[in-house]
Symmetry: C2
Subunit: 646 residues, 2 copies
């Protein structure tokens, strides 16, 4: 039976219904956004489509973050906003998806075309009759932008937009004027499988076999694979770095298999963290450029063959605060999503999915020299401390590493959390959601909501499907799946920016762990600028633990953690380990404390490097001697531990 027959669709359906079905075929079942005058008829169709739901976010920017994280879990997210006020409000989130290569379909409910033609001064416009300004802006932060036409073939616009968002893993802008929501198309058009680079893991009716390459393409790929393997076989000290492209293009399994097969020292970037099993013996930690653990840095810098899989950065040799690839090594092989770069030559139109498939087929382990040294790069506290000791970042992350379980999804905010999380080893199948490239403060709360929706859907599907595949291609069993907890680490500054989205979690009875690192403001910024006026990094002190009550939560738990003992007690608590309710844990930290990954590397960086001198942090960062003072600081506040559980 065809899709239309299976779903008993009438011969003619509205384009809005068509769109909903296309999304459902890709297993995109939650749509994010806020209602607005020009998107309402569209929202009605979401409600009318079986198996689809409207998240009903509290705040528009948060809805974009939620959509982004949902896509990271499921391969695609869909965001609906209204013309002008709505679409501009989500722009920071959409730009984050662009920067971090996340596929989202951004649908904008637009004024009726007649109003646009006549340039009437509708509200939500700039008042100058320019209806194109928002489209121009949207196009600038999208891999494709389209306003739905009024032709019989408008369904092709929808198909094209959905395919682009999925295949390019970038935002797509689709404007739908309100008067075109109800245009009719043939439901049979839904029977055509979408043209997807990656095989969707639950497209029952849409599944199509692996792409069959033309003979010419086969030659092209084989020739390139030959070049790559030749370099690898000739290498004395090869290393593999896995970047986020392997997550976006759902080839994490292939990447992991290749790591196991080669036994090369292997690393992930901060964006790639969680992509591969960190318990593979030759997994050697996180490569963060100049901020890397010295052993990691040495291995990568001295390698004569650095193979970067799913590379997201246009230039490997780049300098940022998060990524500093200062490798002098010219023996680089960068496998981007749609091209490969070897040394200085770029080979276009080479898809990472096919490259990985062929690498796995053709790699011959016997032809590689096997003298690889491995390292332990995980930071452990310099000393063991007693329970009554006040907390510091250094110990927090170490303790948490014992609490994480296989299958956990860990969402981290820009700042302390993102730096902290990269220094610990994940259990198998742990997924990490963060935004190291775009780095928008407040991202993590909306992102956590998006992950929660995705996990809930995975669990629901598990109820009807015995054999469930994850977006990373792995097949896991039901029990594992039901154990997948969602864990958020967020600082107080970011919490204040975006906390209303916790209300949406409560509205949907979702049960994350929210760990609020309370260090009285923007600590990483404060750290980087400790000569500047500190009050600008402060935030108003809130009574965070009362927030569930305000938002109307009934089934929740809150805790305040001040000492190492508090933390250990919580982690040892069996009941606490089951994610049967929403939880907020406030962790009190010194205001000038930062994770050791940042602290130690930063000192090294300060003394060694000659990077961008103009940057303010290079003027203003504290001298090494000042850090020792900072370390002596103790957290404010008295010891206090409260548990409220209704």
């Amino acid at each position: 039976m065809t899709y239309a027959e299976l779903n008993r669709l009438p011969e003619r359906i509205s384009i809005a219904d068509y769109l909903c079905h296309r999304l459902r075929q890709l297993n995109v079942r939650t749509i994010f956004g806020l209602p607005g005058e020009f998107n309402m008829p569209l929202l009605d169709r979401i409600y009318a489509t079986d198996g689809m739901r409207w998240a009903g976010n509290a705040n528009e920017l948060n809805s974009a973050y939620a959509c982004d994280a949902y896509s990271r879990m499921k391969g695609l997210g869909c965001l609906v906003t209204t013309f002008g006020v709505g679409e501009l409000s989500v722009l920071t989130g959409v730009a984050g998806s662009y920067a971090e290569h996340v596929g989202i379909l951004h649908i904008i409910g637009m004024p009726p075309t007649s109003a646009q033609t006549k340039q009437l001064l509708l509200h939500h416009t700039l008042g100058n009759g320019d209806y194109n300004v928002f489209y121009r802006i949207g196009s600038d932060i999208a891999c494709h932008a389209q306003i739905l036409s009024d032709s019989e073939f408008c369904f092709q616009h929808v198909d094209n937009c959905v395919e682009m968002a999925w295949n390019e893993q970038k935002p797509v802008y689709l404007g739908i004027p309100v008067n075109r929501v109800h245009m009719m198309v043939n439901s049979s058009c839904l029977n055509r499988p979408l043209n997807l680079d990656t095989i969707n893991f639950k497209s029952d009716t849409n599944a199509h076999d692996n792409v069959i390459l033309s003979e010419e393409a086969e030659y092209k790929y084989d020739e390139l694979i030959g070049m790559i393997l030749k370099k690898i076989y000739a290498s004395e000290r090869p290393v593999i770095v896995v970047d986020a492209g392997v997550i976006r293009h759902q080839i994490t399994k292939e990447a992991e298999d290749f790591i196991k097969l080669t036994k090369f020292p292997s690393f992930v970037t901060p964006m790639g963290k969680g992509s591969v099993n960190e318990n593979v013996p030759n997994f050697d930690g996180v490569f963060t450029g100049s901020l890397s653990n010295p052993n990691v840095k040495e291995l990568v810098d001295n390698s004569d063959c650095v193979l970067v899989l799913g590379c997201l950065l246009a230039e490997f040799s780049t300098s940022t605060f998060h990524f500093y690839y200062r490798t002098k090594n010219k023996n680089k092989i960068l496998v981007f999503s749609k091209s490969v770069k070897i040394k200085n030559l770029t080979f276009p139109d080479m898809k990472v999915e096919i490259i990985m498939e062929k690498l796995l087929q053709k790699y011959d382990p016997s032809r590689t020299k096997r003298n690889f040294s491995h390292i332990d790069t995980i930071n452990v506290p310099r000393q063991t401390l007693s329970n009554d000791h006040l907390l510091k970042q250094e110990w927090v992350w170490h303790e948490f590493s014992n609490w994480f379980k296989p299958g956990d999804v860990i969402v981290t905010e820009v700042g302390s959390s993102a730096f902290g999380i990269i220094q610990i080893k994940f259990p198998p199948r742990t997924q990490s959601i963060s935004q190291p490239m775009w780095g928008s403060s407040g991202y993590s709360i909306g992102a956590c909501l998006g992950v929660l929706f995705a996990i809930e859907e995975f669990k629901e599907e598990a109820g009807v499907t015995s054999n469930l595949s994850l977006p990373n291609g792995e097949t896991i069993n039901l029990k594992n799946l039901q154990d997948r907890r969602v864990i958020l680490f967020v600082g107080d500054g970011a919490f204040q920016i975006a906390m209303q989205e916790i209300s949406t979690m409560i509205r949907w009875d979702l049960t994350p762990y929210i760990f609020l690192l309370n260090n009285e403001g923007y600590s990483v910024d404060r750290f980087m600028n400790n000569k500047s006026n500190l009050s600008k990094f402060d935030v108003q002190p809130w009574k965070y633990l009362n927030i569930f009550k305000i938002f109307g939560a009934l089934n929740y738990e809150t805790r305040k953690i001040v000492t190492l003992g508090d933390l250990r007690e919580m982690i040892a608590d069996e009941n606490f380990n089951v994610d049967d309710k929403i939880r907020l844990v406030e962790i009190i930290l010194p205001s000038t404390d930062v994770p050791p990954a940042l602290l130690e590397k930063w000192i090294r960086e300060r003394t060694q490097s000659k990077v961008i001198k103009e940057s303010p942090r290079f003027f203003d960062t504290p001298e090494s001697s000042e850090f020792s003072e900072m370390e002596e600081l103790t957290p404010r506040g008295s010891k206090h531990n409260s548990i409220i559980s209704l």
Copy 2:
């Protein structure tokens, strides 16, 4: 003494200091925004400049709204964001300032120029080396965009940007790369008065006399004034409509004087509300196009000379939900900020300030026919109700009209509040802050913060200045000034979008009245779409009154108002009338209730009009008969009245 001498400035100062002093000269003393890596050195200079302060907002979009409202009070606002993540987050707010003609200087801390030149992949970029994308976007929603050059003459960029924002009353985009913050310029450049169209009301050292026109310009203006007066004198039924341009260009006093002088029936637009004294005998209410009171509509539609002062709309004959000027009258005189349109001809380069000055000089009352009928257009409840009656919008606004005092500043959210407020008569010197054109949900909370900062500064100045001038040109005495209360009306949907900015009010010990209209979500949207699935208009029910505690407030009061009696008791409470603490009052309303201004006019519109048929609301709006059912609905929740005061 020159400005530089008076302020004992060294001969050379940094461009950042220069900028701060230019803002201070214009009495812009609070800067809005959030800290970010690329704006920190600039923020340091704000702290270093005497009399300047950094607001330290909780959320970026809210900071833009605060800046917008601050500018509406003081003539200019300044917003500082960081590259990429920051500047995109405020875009909806900046676009609102553009749409509603509000002058703001938006300063963006940018990465060092060397990084831009080399296209290094810094974080907060799209990762494609395109550093211009944010500038392009910013330029699209600004009357002027500039990136600070590295020349000795960069101070001219600053002057130009400040002058443009002030004179054009639109956003200006000024990018400052971090490495240029400390460029040195001569402090003596500050001695040159800025070139401002409107005389700044407190530019002690910068004041300059009224613009002296060239002979040619005099002829030009005289000729045009002659044409305008000829039309007016010939008119049988002239009316005046005052739009927001008179507020932005600080000629409210002139507009009011002209209304008094002519005795013509006079109206304000929703955006112009609060611009003129509504107790002048010939003030006849608010003109909201097709949504107007029928008497208002008749007077304007049948007028043979509609003089619109400070017109903001590019076309008078336009159709929007908020403004519907369906006048068949061709005898229109539209005085825009920089041009005049008579019938179909436009006269460019005519400044509204000069037009108003000359109209007042040359208008001869004896030459006008004086047979004007006046009307009472204020809605009053259809019946008097007892105290135990549950509330409805109709009665709420009427009761509040008895509570407002001269000098109050009333901030209203899009939705019920904006519709409600236009139906009541303001006391003299009442200012109204709302966003009827752009209509971004969540605007009012940030806006309220901006107003509070401005009022606080007015009060501080009153302590040192005996004779204080308001931005509308009026001079008022100290006592009046100190009585100016800031009153916010906001719905629960909007409250959830933006409520963290209340924390900033608490941080600064500001004392607004916050009236939260709790009608379980987006009521105006629900009203306009009552055939669609209602759940999308719902929001999670919160325990709103506890929010002050979370935000760490110490001196506050909360109330819950369910019946008319509760409301009357509150309004009669002498203590409540003094704004000595921050207050949150939750007003429980039926979820399908809307203000009568909306309800009644909408029914009329439905039955009479043939406007844009494609708009969804014309398909989906309820029939008139359905309204009577809606009116019967009673509010949920039991009667409950609590007062907490610490």
